[in-house]
Each structure stands twice: as C-alpha cells, then as structure tokens.
C-alpha cells in the first residue's frame, strides 16, 4: 500500500443540541449543561414526513440529508462517477420512531392503519438509502447498528476504499431520541444511567490520491481501528493496551484521547496521552458516539496540539471502538 492509498478525512458535518461542527470542536469543560436526554432543536417537527425530491423522509432522514447538504452533498462530479460514491452509517435506534408509531396505530386504530409509506422507510438503513437517492450515490450503501455503529461504519468505509469498490464514501452516525427509547434506556440498560443526546455526524472519506484529484483539502488521516468487547474498566484497559501497541500511537509524541463513552467512569491512568471525556459536554451520542469527538480531534490536529487522536465510541452493550486520526 502506498501513501496514495491513505484514507483521508476531507469533509465533516454535524448537528447536535449544542450546534454544529464548531460547537463539537470546543474543549469539554466543567459540568454537562445538557438535559439527560437532549434533543436537537432545529425546526424539524418530531413527526415530520415530507417529500424531499423523490424521497419520503422522516425526521432522522431529513436531518441526515441536511447535514450532508451542508457538507456539499458531493460528489457525482465529472471526476467521480456516481457509481463510485458509497455511504455507510451507524445508528443505535435508526428510524425506529416509525416502528413505534406504526405499532401504536395498529394497536389503537387497527392493522390497516399501518402506513405503507411509513413502512417503506422504517428500516434501519432508510436514512442512508434516502441520502443516496437524494444525491445519486450508487456505490455500496451499508448501515451498521449499535452505539459502535458510527465508528464501525468509518472502518468499513476505509476497507471499501482500499479495495477500490468506491472512490468516495460518506460515513457517519445518527440517532434521535424518542420518549420510549429514553424510558427504555433508563429502565433496562446494561450500564448505569447517563445523559444521552441526539446527534448526526457525517464524514467525507476518500483515498489521498482521489482527494488530490478532486481538489479536497484533507482534514486528517484515518489511521486505524481498535476495539474490545466490553465497555467497563476492563474494556478500557484492553483498548488502551491495544492502542499503545500500535505503531502510529507509539511513534507520536503528543497523543489525545477523546472518550465519547465513559463520562465520569474510571478509565486507565493516562500513560503520556492527554484524555478528554467529550461526554462531559456532548453527553453520549448513541450511534454517533465517538464520531462526535472527531471535530475536536480535527481541531486539535490542525492547531498542532496533537499528533494522533483516538476517538472512542460504543457502550450500551456494544463494547468500545477506537478510531485513530493522524495529521493529514
């Protein structure tokens, strides 16, 4: 593999109760100011259903499409055929609000009131599919579940780029909170209750050679994935042991960990690395956990405050997944 095959982060968009990319890039400090289940107030109605071009979209899909539009909604340019643009997103709850509403309708008003239109967009992959319809992306389109799903989607995308199945991938994570989900998380989660926030994070990823050809400015280099099956103190210990064994981490003088899972949990003592718990300002972002720390990672890399950053996502039974980001 040559340097031309390096996987580059060339675009970043986000929506969070705190704001967009700039808000997420701010350093975590002090106490969490968000409510324990923070919703995004961006004017999209909770029960939104709209025709967006050819697509019938709900709130989750509409927000993802808007974030991608902000990112440029690219490409399908003359330089990259639409067939070579893929999408991979991670989510914990997907468009399951629709499942809730359809089941409630069936229980109250009978089976015929389950809307075929709603049913057609209730699958976990519908936001990614609707984005592909909106932008004409005809490459691989995958959705990965769990709170590690967004980070898994980035790792999956990198492998698809390296295999030349696609030239550009829009990857990321999204989730919205419903009243039922909030209650369910409090009632039966495998871990102690904590604060959760809706979030949508989207990344544009491509190989260095393609980035150059398209005239994109790289923001960071994707430098690998490490994971563990547990998200407790043992899981953190294993994750950091594996991270510290990687060449990119060992060779970096200044390293920064951005933990999007642990909050105030005990993590292993820092071993030379700087450690920030993004959950202290962002809360846990479910399927976008970990990814919500990437704006901060990019900010620190660009400012020259870190040589390599680790963003940690996961939790809620999904274990931990760390993504490594290096200077572009």
């Amino acid at each position: 593999m040559t340097a031309a095959d390096d996987i580059m982060l060339t675009g970043l968009g986000a929506r969070h109760p705190l704001g967009g990319v700039e808000a997420l890039a701010a350093a975590p400090s002090g106490a969490l100011t968000l409510p324990t289940a923070a919703r995004i107030e961006d004017g999209i109605p909770i029960r939104c259903r709209q025709w967006r071009g050819l697509g019938y979209v709900d709130r989750t899909s509409m927000r993802l499409i808007e974030v991608l539009e902000g990112l440029g909604g690219r490409p399908a340019t003359d330089k990259v055929a639409d067939i070579a643009v893929g999408a991979a997103f991670g989510t914990f709850y997907g468009s399951q609000r629709l499942n809730e509403e359809m089941l409630a309708a069936a229980l109250v008003r009978g089976p015929r009131t389950v809307s075929p239109l709603d049913f057609s967009i209730n699958t976990f992959n519908s936001p990614g599919a609707l984005a592909a319809m909106r932008f004409g992306w005809k490459g691989l389109n995958a959705t990965l579940l769990s709170c590690a799903g967004g980070s898994e989607a980035v790792a999956y995308s990198a492998l698809q780029l390296r295999r030349y199945r696609v030239q550009v991938v829009y990857a990321g994570g999204y989730d919205e909170l419903t009243d039922f989900l909030e209650c369910a998380l409090r009632a039966g989660g495998p871990e102690p209750a904590r604060a959760y926030a809706e979030a949508t994070v989207a990344l544009e990823l491509t190989r260095r050679e393609t980035a150059t050809r398209l005239g994109r400015t790289p923001l960071a280099t994707y430098a690998g994935r490490v994971s563990t099956g547990a998200s407790d103190a043992r899981g953190y210990g294993e994750l950091m042991a594996r991270i510290r064994a990687t060449e990119v981490w060992r060779g970096a003088p200044r390293t920064l960990v951005l933990d999007g899972v642990g909050g105030d949990r005990t993590h292993p003592p820092p071993n030379g690395e700087r450690w920030e718990c993004t959950t202290q300002t962002q809360a846990h972002c479910l399927g976008a956990s970990g990814l919500a720390g990437i704006p901060r990672a990019v900010s620190e890399l660009r400012a020259g405050n870190a040589d390599v950053c680790l963003t940690i996502g996961g939790g809620l039974g999904a274990g931990l997944i760390g993504l490594l980001w290096a200077q572009p």
């Binding site: 089941l103 089976p111 075929p116 599919a129 319809m133 691989l140 209650c183 039966g188 999904a318």
Partner: protein, 393 residues
C-alpha cells in the same frame, strides 16, 4: 500473496429444521407455510402465509435462554456452525463476529413498546434491554465467547450479503483469521402488517421467478457460516464447502421498495470482476427472487443483461424456506455452499413459466455444470449485494 477465504462450517435453525433439513426440503421435501394472524393487533381480513415455529417448538428452543427471539435463533445457528466446522474452544474464542438482521429487536421490542403504550414507563422493566437493536449480536458473542464484533449490518434484506462480503474482506485484509458471519430474523407484527399493506404478500405461497407469482412469504430463522483463511482451515484439517471469490455491492438510488435492474447489475458485475470470472463461467445463479412482481422482474432484467441469449440455471429458495428478511443473504449463501459441495442445483418450488424464456429457471433439480455460483440479495432502500463462490481449492 492474497489470502484466500473459505467456508468451513454451516449452521441453521428454521421451522424446517437444520441445514440438512433445509437441503432435503429444497430437493423435494415438505414445507410448513400456514396462515397466521399478527398476534397483538386486530386480525387482518386475510392472514398471510408464513413459515414460523410452533409455540411448542419455540419453548424448546427458548429453554434456558433469555436473549430475545432473534438472539436465540442467532446463538443456536452459530453454535451449530461451530460444531459443523469442528472448531475447538480455543479456535472459537479467537474468532470474530459479523452479524446481519433487519427487524432486530422488535419481536422483543414490540412487546416492550406495547407495555409502554398501555402503562407508560411503569410498564418497563430490566428486560427491556432486549429491545436493543444489537441484543442478538451481543447474545451470540457472549454465548460463544467470541473475541470481537466487527459490526451488525442492517441494510434491510441485503444485510446478509453485505455482512458476508465484509467478513471476507476482513480476512483478506489480514485483520482476522476466522469470522463467524450470520444472520437471524423473527416475525413481528409491524413487518407483517407493513408488508401486507404494501400488498406484496402472496395469497397462495411464494412462486419465485414464475410468471404467475403474486408476492412473498415471510419466515423466521437463523443461519451462520464459518469463514476462515484457507491456510488456517488446511492446517486444522477442515474440508471447506466453498471459497468466496468476489463480492459486489451497490445502491439503486432510485426507489425505497422497488429494486432497479441497473443497480442489481452493477453489484453482479462487481462480484464477477473481483472473482476474475466472466459471466459464462458461472454454473448457476442463486437469485434473491422474493416472488414479488417487481423484484423478480428487475432481477431477471439484470441477469439477462449479462446473458442476452440464455442464462445459466437460476434457482431460488424462498418458496421452500420463506423470506428470512435480514438473514436472507446468509441463508442463500449457505444453500450455495451446499450446491457447490453436492454439485446440484435445487429446483425452484412452485415455478411454472418464466416471464422471459431466456431466463433458464431450474424447474427440476439438475447438475451444477460449472463450480462457480453467484448469489444475490437485495433490500429496501435499493441495497444490493452479490457474492461469487467457487469450489474450494
């Protein structure tokens, strides 16, 4: 040198039985489709045909397990695959997991939501954790003490094919040496009602690729494949069922529920290109073929774009095992392994005549003339996946 990926173990749990029972049924055995109402809502005027576990069968499967319906199906199938491959405890514990599902959690989540709908938050208890989308993945990883999880794919009914392709990628990239890749799905009320209201459920039983087809028939179950680096399997003395030669994927970017031939064709071409095979090298195609008017017409158009004169034998399994939703691609790949090992192409149950005579549908069981088979699976959202497998070296 490139790492070759082989399949060394198969496991399944379905209303028809295990892997052997599936193969017997495909070659002419009995099916178990029967009308069934949604359980917890007003009855439909015409209950759909389904292939489901009886209550007594389910009690046996569930005994001692608490992980929810999808998780139970997945864990049983995964355990059977490990036994089939003859994995030692050490080998199993050093294996990784890639999983696929679509209605995930909602067979359990629906019950939780009904309690919430009736009694509010007070109706929820610790068991609601089973509602989590990845509860099934966690159940398999925990039951088999697997090393790591590399993702739970949920691209509707294309999930299984994408999971299989990624599992092969991970081995070829040297990330891991062995992956358990599987899928499971169970029947829940919302999908039953949704498919019925979309009017794509068959009244008479699914007849894939047949000109008189009138829709799909849903089913439930779990299936797992053990994927290994070829040298790993050889060192352990395992005889592979088949080798994975190529994977292709695409998105139609066209319609949420109706497949689109150009996208399907793209996935098939990509898989063939990765396998370094020409279309004429294939001995058979194991089609997605749900039995809906739109799916089978678009898939046939894509196949005939590869074969303008006559296709190789095309088979389809959903009139025997039903549509396994997110697990469909894993079930189809499992059957492809059996086709390659046995050298047989199973017939398409219920087939009478194709829309286009150039599509050579396997109306009877026949010999697999060439040891390469392409397997398709597609899903809502225009997700397409194709996998090419060949006889193991």
């Amino acid at each position: 040198m490139a790492i070759r990926v082989v399949i060394t173990g198969l496991g399944a749990v379905t209303p028809l039985g295990d892997v052997e029972a599936i193969w017997r049924a495909l070659l002419g055995g009995e099916t178990r489709f029967a009308p069934r109402q949604p359980r917890h809502t007003d009855p439909l005027a015409r209950p759909p045909l389904l292939q489901a576990f009886s209550d007594a069968e389910w009690r046996d499967l569930e005994a001692g397990r608490t992980s929810g319906r999808v998780g139970i199906l997945a864990a049983i199938a995964a355990q059977r695959a490990c036994v089939d491959a003859g994995l030692s405890d050490t080998e199993r514990r050093s294996s990784d997991l890639v999983f696929a599902t679509t209605s995930v959690g909602w067979p359990s989540g629906e019950a939780d939501f009904r309690r919430y709908h009736q009694r509010g938050a007070e109706g929820l208890d610790a068991g609601v954790a089973r509602s989590r989308a990845t509860a099934a993945t966690e159940a398999v990883a925990a039951a088999l003490a697997l090393r790591d999880v590399y993702g739970t794919f949920s691209a509707a009914c294309a999930s299984g094919g994408l999971a299989l392709g990624y599992a092969a990628d991970l081995i070829q990239a040297g990330v891991t040496r062995r992956v358990l890749v599987g899928g499971a799905d169970a029947l829940a009320d919302v999908p039953l009602l949704g498919f019925a209201n979309l009017r794509i459920v068959s009244a008479h039983g699914c007849r894939p690729l047949s000109h008189d087809r009138d829709g799909m028939t849903l089913s439930e179950g779990g299936a797992f494949l053990i994927l290994e680096a070829q040298d790993e399997a050889r060192a352990a003395g395992r005889q592979p069922y088949a080798e994975i030669l190529g994977a292709g994927g695409s998105c139609d970017a066209n319609h949420m529920t109706r497949p689109h031939a150009p996208g399907v064709l793209q996935a098939m071409r990509q898989a063939l290109a990765e396998a370094a095979l020409a279309a004429d090298d294939l001995g058979a195609i194991n089609a997605h073929a749900t039995g809906t008017r739109a799916n089978d017409a678009e898939e046939a158009t894509a196949i005939l774009a590869l074969y303008p004169l006559a296709s190789p034998p095309v088979t389809a399994i959903k009139s025997v095992i039903g549509h396994m939703q997110g697990a469909a691609g894993v079930f189809a790949s499992l059957v492809t392994c059996l086709m390659i090992r046995s050298g047989q192409v199973p017939p398409v149950r219920g087939f009478s005549r194709a829309d286009d005579p150039r599509l050579t549908v396997a109306a009877e069981a026949q010999t697999l003339a060439k040891p390469f088979v392409l397997t398709n699976c597609f899903g809502f959202g225009g997700a397409n996946s194709s996998i090419v497998m060949g006889a193991a070296p």
